[in-house]
C-alpha cells in the first residue's frame, strides 16, 4: 500500500528531477566518453569561483543572522501579544515570502537603487553594496522565522514560564531557562530554512547584485546561459547539491528533535494585551520594522509603477498591453499574466497530486530509514539549482520517449517540482495528526476504508489541502530560475517578463517592470490573504 502511494512521486522525481540534473552534470563532466573529474579541482581552484563560494556562504550567514535578529522579536509579538489588526498583519508579513524573487529584487531596486526613493531623498544608493541583498533577504524570509518560531511559541504553555517565575526565576531567567530551550529546535529549523533560501538565492541577487556580487546559483546561470561553460556549471551544481544536502540533513534532525516531549496548548489562549512599558515598546518597534522593511518596499514598488513621466497615472499599465516596439517582446507583456496563471494552475494540480500522495505515504506508521530518506529527498528541489533543473529539462526531455520540448506542460512540471515540497510540508503534520481511532470508529460504524477516508480524513485535511494549494500556486507563479530557461519566447511568465523588462534600458521598460511586478504581487497577495482566512492550524513550517 505504502509502496503504491509512493510509486508515482518516486517516478515523478526520478524523471523530472534526478534525470535532468544527472544529465547536466554528466554532460559537463564527460568528454570523449570519459569522466573528467580533474575538472572539479580546476574549477574549485579558480580564484573567481572561490570568491563566489565565499560570497555565497557569508552573505547567507549574514542574511540568516540579520533575519533572526530582526524577526525573533516579531515572532514573540505575534505569538504572545494581542492587538487589533493582528490577523491582517500576520497575513501581510507573510506576503513577501510568496512574492516572486524577481518582484522582491525589483521592489528593493525601487527603494535603494539608482533613482530609487532613498537616492531621490538623500542621494543614498545601496544597490552597489551588499546591504541591498541582505535587506531583501530579510524582507523575503521574515515570515519564515515569524511562522516557524512564532507558531511554536504561541503554543508553548505560558504557565511553564510562570512555574519558573514562582520558583524564583526573574523574567529573563525564566525565558532563558524554559522558553529558549523549548524554542531552540524551531529557531534552528527556521535558521536553516533561511540559510537554505539565501544560500541558493537567485532572482534577488541577479537583480540587486550587479556585476560585483554573485551567488553560486547566479554563477551557474551565468556559466550556463551566458558563457556556455557547461563543465564549470556542472561542478558548481554538484557543489551546491552537496551543500544543500548537508543543510537538509541537519534540518531533518532538528525537526525530529522538535517533535519531542513539548506539551502544546491552544494558541488562542496564550496571547494577551501588552502590559507594561517594555511590551508596548516591543510592539511598537516590531510594527515599525514591519512598516519600514515590508510595507515601504511594497509601497515604493506600487508608487513607481504609477509614476509616469506625465505624472501619476496608469500609463505603464496601459503600455503593457502593446507589444514592445524595441523587440524585447514578441507579444504584449500583459499576456504574461494569463500564461502565468495557466501554468501555475497546472503546476498546482501536479504538485497537489504528487505531494499529496507522498505525504500520505509518509504518514503510514512504522516508517523506517527508507521513509525518512524519502522525506528529505522531497525537500531537495527547494535547494538544488533551479537553473540546472531548467537547463536539464531542455537537454533531457527533448527526445522520444519523452519529447516535451514544444509542449506547454514543461513549464508547469518544473514549477511543480518547487511547489511539491511545500505541499508535503503542509500536509504531513495535518495527516499525521488525524487520530487513527477516528477511522476505527468509522469502520466499526460500518464505513469501508475508502468511505472512512472520505468521511473522516478528508474533512479534517480539507483546509490543509487548500492552504497547500495556495502555497504551491504562489510559489509556481513566482518560479524564475527554471522557467527562465524553458518558457518559450512567445509565452513568457510574469517573472520572466519582469526580468526581461528590467534588462532593457529606458524609463518605459523600468516603469512597465514595476507595473508588472505590482500585478504579480497583487495576485500572490490575494491568493495568500484568501488562505489566511482559511488557515487555522499554525503549527506547520511555512
Amino acid at each position: 500500500m505504502r509502496l503504491g502511494l509512493m510509486a508515482l512521486p518516486a517516478v515523478f522525481f526520478a524523471v523530472f528531477f534526478a534525470w535532468p540534473v544527472a544529465a547536466i552534470v554528466g554532460r559537463g563532466l564527460k568528454a570523449d566518453g570519459a569522466w573528467q573529474f580533474g575538472r572539479i579541482g580546476e574549477v574549485l581552484g579558480d580564484p573567481d569561483i572561490g570568491h563566489v563560494l565565499w560570497f555565497t556562504t557569508w552573505q547567507a550567514l549574514a542574511s540568516t543572522a540579520l533575519t533572526l535578529l530582526i524577526a525573533l522579536p516579531g515572532a514573540y509579538v505575534f505569538a504572545r501579544l494581542e492587538f487589533p489588526g493582528k490577523q491582517l498583519l500576520r497575513a501581510v508579513v507573510t506576503v513577501p515570502f510568496v512574492l516572486p524573487t524577481v518582484v522582491v529584487g525589483t521592489a528593493f531596486l525601487a527603494l535603494l537603487g539608482r533613482g530609487g526613493l532613498l537616492d531621490q531623498l538623500w542621494g543614498v544608493r545601496l544597490d552597489t553594496t551588499v546591504w541591498a541583498i541582505l535587506l531583501a533577504h530579510v524582507f523575503f524570509n521574515y515570515a519564515v522565522v515569524v511562522r516557524t518560531v512564532g507558531g511554536l511559541w504561541s503554543q508553548l504553555d505560558p504557565r511553564q514560564e510562570e512555574a519558573a517565575r514562582v520558583l524564583g526565576a526573574s523574567r529573563f531567567a525564566a525565558w532563558r531557562t524554559v522558553t529558549l530551550p523549548a524554542l531552540g529546535p524551531a529557531v534552528a529549523a527556521a535558521a536553516l530554512m533561511v540559510f537554505l533560501f539565501t544560500f541558493t538565492s537567485f532572482g534577488v541577487v541577479q537583480i540587486l547584485g550587479g556585476p560585483t556580487f554573485s551567488t553560486l546559483e547566479v554563477e551557474i546561470y551565468r556559466q550556463t546561459a551566458e558563457l556556455l561553460d557547461l563543465p564549470t556549471a556542472a561542478v558548481l551544481t554538484m557543489v551546491q547539491f552537496v551543500a544543500v544536502g548537508a543543510i537538509l540533513a541537519v534540518h531533518a534532525r532538528t525537526v525530529r528533535r522538535r517533535e519531542t516531549a513539548l506539551k502544546l496548548v491552544d494558541p488562542a489562549q496564550t496571547a494577551r494585551r501588552p502590559r507594561g512599558a517594555g511590551q508596548w515598546m516591543l510592539l511598537a518597534s516590531v510594527l515599525a520594522v514591519v512598516a519600514l522593511l515590508i510595507l515601504l518596499p511594497v509601497g515604493v514598488l506600487i508608487e513607481r509603477s504609477l509614476d509616469t513621466p506625465d505624472g501619476y497615472g496608469l500609463g505603464y499599465y496601459r503600455a503593457l498591453q502593446a507589444a514592445g516596439d524595441n523587440g524585447s517582446f514578441l507579444v504584449p507583456p500583459i499576456e504574461a499574466i494569463w500564461n502565468s496563471l495557466q501554468y501555475a494552475l497546472a503546476a498546482t494540480v501536479i504538485a497537489l497530486v504528487i505531494g499529496g500522495l507522498a505525504a500520505a505515504a509518509l504518514t503510514r506508521r512504522g516508517s523506517g530509514r527508507l521513509i525518512r530518506g524519502f522525506d528529505a529527498l522531497l525537500m531537495l528541489p527547494l535547494g538544488v539549482s533551479a537553473v540546472t533543473v531548467g537547463f536539464g529539462f531542455l537537454i533531457t526531455l527533448d527526445e522520444p520517449p519523452l519529447d516535451l520540448r514544444t509542449s506547454w506542460i514543461l513549464v508547469p512540471l518544473a514549477q511543480a517540482l518547487v511547489g511539491t515540497p511545500f505541499v508535503v510540508r503542509i500536509m504531513l503534520p495535518v495527516l499525521r495528526a488525524v487520530d487513527g481511532r477516528l477511522r476505527e470508529a468509522a469502520a466499526v460504524l460500518g464505513a469501508s476504508p475508502l468511505r472512512a477516508w472520505r468521511e473522516v480524513d478528508l474533512p479534517l485535511v480539507r483546509r490543509a489541502l487548500l492552504v497547500a494549494a495556495g502555497f504551491a500556486f504562489a510559489v509556481s507563479l513566482g518560479e524564475f530560475g527554471a522557467t527562465v530557461f524553458i518558457a518559450r519566447p512567445d509565452r513568457p511568465t510574469l517573472p520572466v517578463a519582469v526580468a526581461r523588462l528590467l534588462g532593457r534600458a529606458g524609463d518605459l521598460n523600468y516603469g512597465q517592470a514595476m507595473a508588472l511586478s505590482t500585478i504579480l504581487m497583487v495576485v500572490c497577495a490575494v491568493a495568500l490573504l484568501v488562505l489566511e482566512r482559511i488557515r487555522t492550524d499554525r503549527s506547520g513550517e511555512f
Binding site: E162, A173, A174, T177, K263
Partner: protein, 340 residues
C-alpha cells in the same frame, strides 16, 4: 502568613474576584472549594503575583506585596497539570528553584535527594519527566515546589488528573506530610472530598465571592446557602415558610431545629433525614430511581407535589422502582439555609 484585603480582579466586565478577604495562618492548610469559573485559580495567581490586582492588597507575613515581582515572593505553586519542564530530568526540575536562589551544586544535590525521598521517589533523579506516570509527576511537582522551602505552598487542583484510588491515597499522604513539615498551604479544588480531607479550613467560592468559610465539619453540617448545599451534592432543597419549629413546604410539614429563622427561607433535608415509613403514613411517593452505593441504596422519590426527593435506605428491604412508599422527615437531617 497570608492576608487578602478586598482583592478584586476584573476580566472585562466580569469580576473574577470580587472584594475577597481571606486569611491563612502559619502552619494552616486552607482549601478553596468552588466550581470552575468561581475564581479560585485566579486567587492563587493573585497571591503568586502572576495576575495584577484591580484593587485590594495581598500581604505576606504582614508585608504588602504590590510591586514585589513573582520571583521575589518566595512562594511555592503546584500547577494544575504540574508544568514540569520537559527538557529537564527529574533532578533538574526539583533543583530549579534552588538554582535560581544561587544554591551550590552540593546543596542542590543533597536537597534534591532529600525531597525525592520525602515524596517517595528515591533515586528517580535521572529519569525523564515524560516517562513518569501521572502520580509520579505529581510527586515531582510537589518536590519541586517544596525544594526552596517556600513560606507558603499553593496547590492548584493538586490531584485533579489522577484516578480515584491514587487520589485518595495521596490526599492522606499530603495531609500527613504537611503536618510533619509544618507547611502553610493554600489549595484550590473543585472536589469536595479532596478539600474536606486535606484542609483545616474550607473556603467555598462562588462567582468571585466567598460563599462560606469554616472547618470541613461546619461546612458539611451547616451549608450556609442553597448554592453551597447544592455544590456539596445535596439535592433536597425547597422553598419553605418557617413558623416556630415547623416549615411549610411543597412536601408538606417539615420539622426544623429550635431557634431557626422565621418566615420565608429555603430548607435542606439531607438524604439521611428522609425516613421511609409505611405506604399510608407520611408523604406518599413513588420510587423512580434506585442506585446501589456500596454501604446503602440511594433512592429517587417522586412525591405528589414538589421536586424529587433523594433518600437513603439500608441494603435490606430497599423498595424497587415503581413501588409506592411513604416518607417522614427527621429533624436531625434538616438545615434551614441562609440568604443567597
Amino acid at each position: 502568613m497570608l492576608k487578602l484585603d478586598g482583592v478584586t480582579v476584573r476580566f472585562g466586565q466580569r469580576a473574577a474576584l470580587d472584594a475577597v478577604d481571606l486569611e491563612v495562618a502559619d502552619h494552616e492548610t486552607v482549601c478553596v472549594l468552588g466550581p470552575s469559573g468561581s475564581g479560585k485559580s485566579t486567587l492563587l495567581r493573585v497571591v503568586a503575583g502572576l495576575q495584577p490586582l484591580d484593587s485590594g492588597r495581598v500581604l505576606l507575613g504582614g508585608a504588602d506585596q504590590s510591586g514585589v515581582p513573582v520571583h521575589k515572593r518566595g512562594l511555592g505553586l503546584m500547577f494544575q497539570d504540574h508544568q514540569l519542564f520537559p527538557q529537564r530530568d527529574v533532578a533538574g526540575n526539583v533543583a530549579f528553584g534552588l538554582r535560581m536562589r544561587g544554591a551550590s551544586r552540593g546543596e542542590q544535590a543533597s536537597r534534591v535527594g532529600e525531597l525525592l525521598d520525602l515524596v517517595g521517589l528515591p533515586g528517580a533523579g535521572r529519569r525523564a519527566v515524560a516517562a513518569l506516570s501521572g502520580g509520579e509527576q505529581q510527586r515531582v511537582a510537589l518536590a519541586r515546589a517544596l525544594a526552596p522551602s517556600p513560606r507558603l505552598l499553593m496547590l492548584d487542583e493538586p490531584l485533579g488528573q489522577l484516578d480515584r484510588t491514587l487520589r485518595e491515597r495521596l490526599v492522606v499522604e499530603l495531609r500527613s506530610l504537611f503536618g510533619r513539615l509544618g507547611t502553610t498551604v493554600l489549595a484550590v479544588t473543585h472536589d469536595q472530598g479532596e478539600a474536606f480531607a486535606l484542609a483545616d479550613r474550607v473556603v467555598v467560592m462562588r462567582d468571585g465571592r466567598i460563599a462560606q468559610t469554616g472547618t470541613p465539619l461546619e461546612v458539611w453540617q451547616h451549608p450556609a446557602s442553597e448554592f453551597v448545599a447544592r455544590f456539596l451534592g445535596f439535592e433536597n432543597v425547597v422553598p419553605a415558610t418557617v413558623s416556630g419549629e415547623v416549615a411549610d413546604t411543597a412536601w408538606g410539614k417539615v420539622p426544623v431545629p429550635a431557634g431557626s429563622p422565621q418566615g420565608p427561607v429555603r430548607v435542606l433535608v439531607r438524604p439521611a433525614g428522609v425516613r421511609l415509613v409505611g405506604e399510608r403514613e407520611g408523604l406518599p411517593c413513588e420510587v423512580v430511581g434506585r442506585t446501589f452505593r456500596g454501604s446503602h441504596v440511594a433512592l429517587r422519590l417522586r412525591p405528589g407535589g414538589g421536586p424529587l426527593l433523594e433518600a437513603e435506605c439500608g441494603l435490606e428491604g430497599a423498595p424497587g422502582v415503581g413501588a409506592p412508599v411513604g416518607v417522614a422527615f427527621g429533624v436531625g437531617g434538616v438545615v434551614v439555609l441562609g440568604e443567597e
